[in-house]
Symmetry: C2
Subunit: 250 residues, 2 copies
């Protein structure tokens, strides 16, 4: 049987629409995240869509055949689900749940609001070896194609889980040493004095509001020293520096 | 004379248009960058525009009076120059040139292409105490309101200068120790072994292409250790980590 037919009724062409948050599936838009999806979560792929002008289509077809993933040339459908020009490949994948590892460091994002930031944070976390991400709701949609795209597909490399509140997260993982990043934190993040534990949770707040003062009490509160000439660091920068410093401690 | 009249003929209302790269002036859109503009570059402000529904208008009027800056209530004009909703304050400022300090550390951006990234980098640089930025052309427009907005007004706190090529920059500042950040750099950036000089240039390439191999030869090439599970770090994250580590060395 050819792998170029639609094989999953739930994504019949006439049902496929621009992304919706309450849909059971989402999209990778563009070659890079689509290849990442196929390589790392082949069991979640419902179908790969290819524009007839895509130059790497022979390699892609071969990869899909190896993984038993249906592939369809459909310029119209790609245009329909992507609002970007120059999108020649897209993947349709089932949303899925993950479980965080209890014996690995975590990043905990409390109410992240921007999908681009969230994707960049996922990419950065994986870059520095943190593969377990807790999100405290409400938060930006991790499955939205914008998040997926800005993660450069790193979403598929890691485990993420959503919690209704911080206490639910903490009850599940009570062995992690907790560090909360706050503008009014009590301890500077320094290159020399970084805590040496290997099992930690790095907790970051919302882009606009940060963490509220209750987070001063849930662990060791940390601030990243910065000039009074700026209001605050960008969230993604703060997470990048925190992750880099904690993961490179000796 | 009231400060609420138009006083500068070059920005007469009928000439004010959505931002153009070749115009002699640009805009701050939103309260935060506009206050930064007024506080740090009052001599460059041509006029402040205020929407009649802006809640902090009494404070803003007072500040403008102190600085002898004309202020105008003009809802229509704000809507015309900003494509965002919820923009209640805007500043019109003259573009200006700066000279970099010879005795301070620099960040050198080679062909930065994204205005949002450029603004975030400016904000981060100021946050970590680097106030001198060289841009090697071609590069994203530093005056574009998008750059200004994503810098949160940090643009006005620092010195920037454009160069046609890296050699022109280097001829002007030949005492700086040069560090080039490259995926194929020869030295890992580590917390323990960071170079100890205080007069340095941190050089970063374009978002998509990085620095070409010729930059292996212009100084000490550095890579930020990262997992093979990601293609590369986001440029703003790389700059943030580089700036933080170099500025916090002991």
């Amino acid at each position: 049987m050819s792998n170029e037919k639609i094989t999953n009724n739930s994504v019949e062409q006439n049902q496929i629409k621009p992304y919706k948050k309450d849909a059971g599936y989402s999209y990778t838009l563009g070659a890079f995240p689509t290849y990442e999806l196929i390589k790392t979560r082949p069991d979640k792929v419902l179908k790969i869509l290819v524009d007839t002008s895509f130059t790497d289509r022979d390699n892609l077809r071969k990869l899909c055949e190896e993984k038993h993933i249906p592939l369809e040339f459909n310029n119209k459908l790609i245009a329909k689900i992507s609002d970007k020009e120059n999108c020649y490949v897209a993947g349709i994948f089932e949303k899925y749940d993950c479980k965080l590892n209890a014996d690995r460091p975590h990043i905990v994002l409390v109410n992240p609001s921007n999908m681009g930031n969230l994707g960049t944070i996922l990419r950065t976390a994986v870059g520095f070896g943190i593969y377990d991400i807790a999100i405290i709701l409400p938060g930006a949609d991790i499955y939205n194609p914008k998040t997926v795209r800005s993660s450069m597909g790193a979403l598929f490399r890691l485990n993420f889980h959503h919690y209704e509140n911080y206490d639910d997260y903490r009850r599940e993982f009570n062995q992690h040493e907790v560090f909360t990043f706050m503008l009014n934190g009590e301890n500077p993040l320094t290159l020399q004095d970084c805590p040496k534990g290997k099992l930690f949770s790095l907790v970051f707040g919302n882009e606009a509001t940060g963490l509220d003062d209750s987070y001063l009490l849930v662990g060791t509160s940390i601030y990243i020293p910065q000039s009074p000439d700026v209001d605050s660091l960008n969230l993604t920068i703060a997470v990048g520096i925190g992750a880099y410093i904690f993961m490179n401690q000796k």
